[in-house]
């Protein structure tokens, strides 16, 4: 269908994101912000940071999921409109990292919600974030 193709094209060209810190040490958050600012300029892919999950297509999570943020993360995920994607930024978000097995930590993002792209690194470099995001967008093209 032509309309489907147009909608898909529009989605890929304007993937709006919401950033949520699920318990990160702030290093990944700083790198995410750095990649959004003009030096690395994620906006050239149409990526905009939104203030609410209801406007966003991609949930960018940083940090291991602590037991305190677990319920909030699920709530934010459920508020997003379909189709939605989750990007785990940083080693902690991918697997729990050094916090794996800690009493206050549930594990990586995928222990709570499904994840579409994993970007490892401690902290991740902005280039890695751009690479991960572009790979995610390319995978959408084929759908």
């Amino acid at each position: 269908m032509v309309i489907d193709k147009v909608v898909n094209w529009a989605r890929i060209k304007s993937p709006w994101i919401i950033h949520f810190n699920t318990g990160a040490c702030n290093a990944c958050d700083i790198e995410i912000l750095a990649s959004l600012t003009p030096r690395y300029d994620l906006e050239r892919f149409g990526i905009l940071l939104r203030g609410t999950p209801r406007h966003a297509d991609i949930l960018v999570c940083s940090g291991p999921v602590t037991l305190q943020t677990k319920d909030r993360l699920i709530r934010i995920y459920e508020q997003m409109a379909e189709p939605k994607f989750v990007v785990a930024v940083g080693t902690c978000a991918c697997s729990g990292g050094v916090f794996q097995g800690c009493y206050g930590v549930s594990g990586g993002i995928d222990s709570v919600i499904p994840v579409s792209a994993y970007i490892p690194g401690c902290p991740v470099r902005p280039e890695a974030i751009i690479d991960g995001v572009v790979k995610l967008l390319n995978s959408l093209k084929n759908k």
């Binding site: 037991l67 097995g101 800690c102 009493y103 206050g104």
Partner: protein, 158 residues
Amino acid sequence: MGNEETIKAALLQKFPQLEGKCEIIRQRRITLEVDRSRLIELLNFSCSELKFNILCTITGLDVGDDLQFIYHIANKEGIVMNVKTNAPKTDPVISTVLGIYNGATFYERELEDLLGAKVEGLPEGRHYPLPDNWPKGQYPLRKDWKPENINQQNKKEE
């Protein structure tokens, strides 16, 4: 070291049982150990008479059979006094310092949550910093506690 010596002398004069348990470890740092029954009296004296009216934080430790609590109190000149007190694990009761230092609520709640201390006089409240559904009787900062304790219970719930 003038001021530290004066403070130490004033403490020893008021509490002679501190003899040998109070020492100036370096410039602007005083450490002393006090019995838990005299803790409130000592903190009261330090706060009102010696003007140690800033509670920096409370540290909780598991030292084997005992739990140790260190009250880090400071005055405006930047002198920090570490007041240590012990309570046995079988009876880990200490009284609250809320009457002296108003900001102590969260420090004391943390002691209750993570080390299982019983803070007498602390108003009832929610868990902090652990989540609300944390099982009772699990104190993750005790040395004999294992993460499996909680994981097994999580699995049972699932």
